[in-house]
Point group: C2
Chain length 351, copies 2
């Protein structure tokens, strides 16, 4: 034997913790960037008309109901700063950014604990019963992160109406909605025509796998808020390349269809492969990621992550989500061979 | 003769109204974008370390004194929102955006009229004599837009000290400073080490001719403000392509040198060619643009613009600048043949 380094198997690092589409950056994005490089020499038009029209057509909303932002984190900050809520009601577990941004802007938060025995699904009637006019804002992820649970459009409408009655703003984060089956039926976008207290956040980072472009958009139908935003928000903060790339990508129906087909198939396969294992509990996913509880006492999220890291598999430890503990892990759905390796590697520790 | 359309001379449209570098988009920008397209699939690091280091090195400041933003308009809004001034003192004429943004955030503005008989140069001792502790903020462009007048670093230091004494924030907009001769001696960046009330705004849009990328930066040395900004500002609002392009471009010394050489030469030629004309008055420029007053009664900015438009020459009508009237025009310095055409076309009406 040689005295060289030991031969170890090399694995590519795969980020199951970022929840991005496994198909990766659409070719339409690359093409649009190459074709529009010269636009960096010109000021973008402040209305971003082609981008705005592409979003309106993609999301089935009126162009004038759109607010553009540099990522969903940017829009979350914009709306919390704009609405200046004093008290919020948040279901937990949910995305850590909601609570963080609310607290930065001095908003007190009450938590509504989702029930693990209902697979963390939100019981809308019970949630509504907890509302009162002391609240100024409710923030919901739909599907929710990290639980991957979907709330029906009918339930969202019930909530929007109840919030409207109590003068509560409803911020609905649909960052992952396009990963759900028949998402056109799940999205609450059409409800903005009826409820002016409803604000829907959308991001392109996850579904189109372009987090480096920094684009998100919100849909709302509230003249007062829109007037303030038009006055105060920076008129042309989006780079011309981001605008051109996103305009092209939203019209890339081939990518959209292939994404759905890939993710729906893989989601079912992963769920079937893992769900019967008695050492773990899967919460049936609606989005492109899965929340899993480890039921084996001596395996923690931390030890499972360390084990998976050896094969380049990066999972999300969920212990910092309010309401979860050191036995929760989240992973997203990647490509077939990657998913096989991930499932097998997880099961090595939990068999 | 044929019955076809009349043969008319065709002119390329040249934007003398945007104040961008006539060399156009640096090749280093195009290259960096092509080489970094795959980065759109990844989240930018929230600190933007390579970009931050490139700016710090370019602008001779500490990386931790930098605030990044999506254009100077974005940073102006950020600082006005952060400082929440009640009363401002603005020299006029100056950039229209200052007064607009201050008023959007409910700040009352007093105007200090620059004296046309001093070529709109700011008399610093007199300006300081107008300060009082009723003011919360002073905003100055250096060089000032649209006057193209430069304030010496010694005068800026006097002002920063006087403002500090009165607890007034000094927002110094150096968007055009790199177009001045020996700009390293003119910039006030090193003064942030002494004056924590000084905030310097810089943009890359004008000097590097990349307004489509949307990047600006501010330099300040104020822990309280920096802490609030780090808490509230969106952590990763800049696209990865903008970050990569700007990092490369700030190190493109060939472009920087060629820009200086081109602009200094052309500025002198234009000034010499027009300055002796008795029907116009040029205010000796320090930046890459020139303010001109039309002294011929029957020619207005509007009629001169219409005349120039016929040859594709787009000038800036300055009548909407507070303190100017319908006889003021601003134009920037473009490339040699373009400038010859512009000068000749203007002189056609003013001879």
């Amino acid at each position: 034997m040689s005295n060289g380094p030991l031969r170890i198997e090399q694995y590519e690092t795969v980020r199951y913790d970022l929840n991005c589409n496994p198909l990766g950056v659409p070719d339409s994005v690359t093409r649009a960037i190459m074709q529009n490089i010269s636009a960096v020499g010109r000021y973008p038009d402040t209305y971003y008309e082609p981008l705005r029209n592409a979003i309106a057509s993609y999301a089935c909303c009126a162009p004038e109901h759109l607010v553009l932002g540099s990522g969903s984190s940017d829009l979350l900050r914009l709306f919390v700063a704009l609405l200046a809520p004093k008290k919020a009601l948040l279901p937990i577990p949910s995305a850590t950014d909601y609570e963080h941004v609310l607290s930065v802007y001095g908003c007190e938060t009450d938590f509504y604990e989702l029930d693990i025995n209902q697979d963390y699904h939100l019981d809308m009637d019970d949630f509504i019963a907890h509302l009162s006019d002391t609240y100024d804002i409710v923030i919901l992820g739909n599907p929710n992160n990290p639980t991957s649970q979907l709330i029906s459009k009918a339930d969202i409408e019930k909530l929007a109406a109840a919030c409207k009655e109590l003068d509560i703003a409803l911020l609905l984060d649909e960052m992952y909605i396009e990963f759900t089956e028949n998402y056109e039926r799940n999205t609450a976008i059409s409800l903005v025509n009826t409820y002016d207290n409803l604000i829907i956040l959308r991001s392109v980072s996850k579904f189109f796998s372009v987090p480096g472009l920094r684009l998100a958009y919100a849909i709302m139908n509230n003249e007062t808020n829109m007037t303030i935003i038009n006055m105060t928000a920076t008129p042309n903060s989006i780079s011309c390349l981001t605008a051109a790339a996103c305009t092209a990508m939203l019209e890339d129906t081939a990518y959209i269809h292939e994404s759905h087909s890939r993710i729906f198939t893989e989601r079912n396969l992963i769920y079937s492969a893992m769900n019967t294992n008695k050492n773990l509990r899967l919460f049936k996913p609606s989005a492109n990621f899965v929340l899993m509880q480890i039921l084996k006492e001596d395996v923690t999220a931390k030890s499972l992550l360390a084990h998976c890291n050896l094969k380049g598999i990066v999972l999300r430890n969920c212990e910092n989500f309010h309401g979860l503990d050191s036995h929760f892990v989240r992973f997203s759905i990647m490509n077939p061979m990657q998913n096989d390796l991930m499932v097998n590697t997880i099961l090595e520790l939990l068999r």
